[in-house]
Amino acid sequence: MSEVEPVAAAPEVLLEVDHLSVQFFTRRGRVQAVRDVSFSIARGETLGLVGESGSGKSVTAQALLGLIELPGRITEGDVRWKGQSLVHDAEPTLRRVRGHEIAMIFQDPMTSLNPLFTVGAQIAEVLRQHMGMSKRAARARAVELLDLVGIASPAQRAKQHPHEMSGGMRQRVLIAMALACEPQLLIADEPTTALDVTIQAQILELIAEIQSRLGLAVLLITHDLGVVAGLCDRVSVMYAGKLVELGAAADLFARPLHPYTAGLLRSTPRLDVVLERLVSIAGAPPDLVRPPRGCPFRARCERATDQCVEEMPPLVAKEGGRHVACWHALDTVAV
């Protein structure tokens, strides 16, 4: 289990997300999908980004690589990769960085690959784009990569089309494709959600293994706390577009500071405890078109006060590298 990193020996920060906001302009109005989110990722570290559907975690991930398309737009803030902005006048930087220094794998392996091209060709494509390899060299390297991610008979598989493969295998292909140019950051957006539970474990193991072998930083996005616990050094929690808590994984699970995090942990079913009923958090997330003025969680929070209704709690740093956005965090006296 990872401990809290001593600040003095902090590794180099690669990615900085600085007060990022993303909005979608629709007929109903402006959907504020991501609001004022900030965090950073250092070399070699694994950051988990946890939240339920609609919390803004995938949008955040896509915003990092400039993949937000109309009707969405990054409206505020910045994302910096090794000091360079990926948001402002960023086209040349993005083109260089995408697929090369930062790679991304997506949730649905079924639709993420072009059905008309062979798997090998699609991996080779990214090699030729960024590493300038010849067709033959790229194809050869593609086969090596397929082997690396644990696909049997890689040479044959490389000549197959996506529909000839299972979901788990396709996800491995996508991982191979992401790793092709030896990126420094891997963004994994719900990489296992669409897969069977047994395959999930394999894919996560694969990611962990590759990470330790290549010293890769990983941003793992998921709604599944179990996935996060196994893999991540630090964890951040998002709710209704806002980052509500951030901290080292073990610490956060043992001592959650935000009522939502606590609620999430409580409602995760456990096999070793006999429960009469499943616990859930009452209520539903707020409408992101007209988000409430104060804390977005207040309607569902037992500790909410008038202040919670009126004012948005800022993300505050606590000791031990913890951050929380709550007026009445769980380490304070309940009101």
Binding site: L67, R95, G99, F106, P115, L116, V126
Partner: protein
């Protein structure tokens, strides 16, 4: 693949047979072919004589048997309009002109509909897109023969860019080919546009972008190839519609000596054998084109399982 082609050919044969039977039954049961083969002044005896000469008095199944036998020997009967010539030869004489027209027209349609559709899909809602869509709709609503006349009026009568009458084949070909092409461009560019918008919104396009591929590759290689599938289908149908229908009208407007024009003349002159022949030849052409479309499907999309 070979087995698939065989299967489709067999299906095609069934279709041609169906058409043939249909034509056969209809022409014999519904009308009296002999009525028009002889001059109006012919007597009833002369007609009866002609009828038995052609075997039209025999029971239908026997007639059909003979009919099939004749076709087997590629004897499609004698055309009465083109005195004494064999129908099949006449048709094959006129066919190349139609093929020229359709080929030229469809090539124009292809060349214009792809870029227009792609452009519109990348700038949806822009004025170019809106104009294109509106023009398409107008083009769809205009009958092709009217469009032909408009082209004639504008370019031949008013602007005198072209002349009616003999001239080098390429100048004469332009207007009718454009007339064929315009509505096709309208329909096809809309399909390209829809398909491209769909593909550009797909997950794999997003992944391709995330890989750092330049936009022109995402559009031109990834999205376009997928959009090609519905496009090929519809393009094939356009060709078929042109062959089996539109050429008749367009050739009539522009006095173009192809089989469409021939068909109208044959029918109007009650040249029964010639008409029959044209219908069968066209049916065969349509079958061939359909098979070609299906094959090209398989070439583009490896997922397609034929057979």
């Amino acid at each position: 693949m070979g087995r698939y082609i065989l299967k489709r050919l067999l299906q095609g044969v069934v279709v041609v047979i169906g058409v043939t039977v249909f034509v056969f039954v209809v022409t014999r049961l519904v009308g009296d072919p002999v009525k028009f083969m002889l001059p109006l002044s012919a007597t009833e005896e002369e007609r009866a004589a002609r009828r038995s000469e052609l075997g039209l008095d025999d029971p239908i199944p026997q007639q059909f048997g003979r009919f099939v036998g004749d076709i087997g020997r590629l004897d499609f009967g004698e055309s009465t309009y083109v005195r004494g010539e064999h129908s099949l030869e006449v048709v094959l004489d006129f066919l190349p002109r139609t093929l020229q027209l359709v080929a030229f027209g469809m090539v124009i349609a292809l060349i214009f509909s792809l870029p227009l559709g792609i452009f519109a899909s990348r700038h949806p809602g822009s004025w170019v897109d809106r104009t294109l869509t509106t023009l398409s709709l107008v083009g769809l609503s205009m009958p092709q023969f009217f469009l032909g006349y408009i082209l004639l009026i504008v370019f031949t009568v008013k602007l005198t860019w072209f002349e009616i009458g003999p001239g080098p084949w390429y100048t004469n070909l332009v207007l009718p080919a454009v007339c064929l092409a315009l509505p096709a461009i309208g329909r096809l560019s809309m399909v390209v546009r829809s398909a491209m918008i769909d593909e550009l919104n797909s997950q794999y396009a997003k992944v391709a972008k995330a890989k750092g591929l330049p936009q022109r590759r995402v559009v031109g290689v990834h999205a376009l190839r997928n959009a090609g599938i519905p496009f090929v289908t519809l393009f094939g149908w356009e060709v078929i519609r042109a062959l089996a229908g539109y050429t008749v009208v367009v050739e009539t407007v522009f006095n173009w000596n192809g089989i469409g024009f021939l068909a109208v003349t044959a029918i109007k002159n009650n040249d029964f054998f010639l008409t029959q022949t044209i219908v069968i030849v066209v049916a065969v052409l349509v079958v061939i084109v359909s098979i070609l479309i299906d094959i090209s499907y398989k070439v583009i999309d490896p997922r397609v399982k034929l057979g």
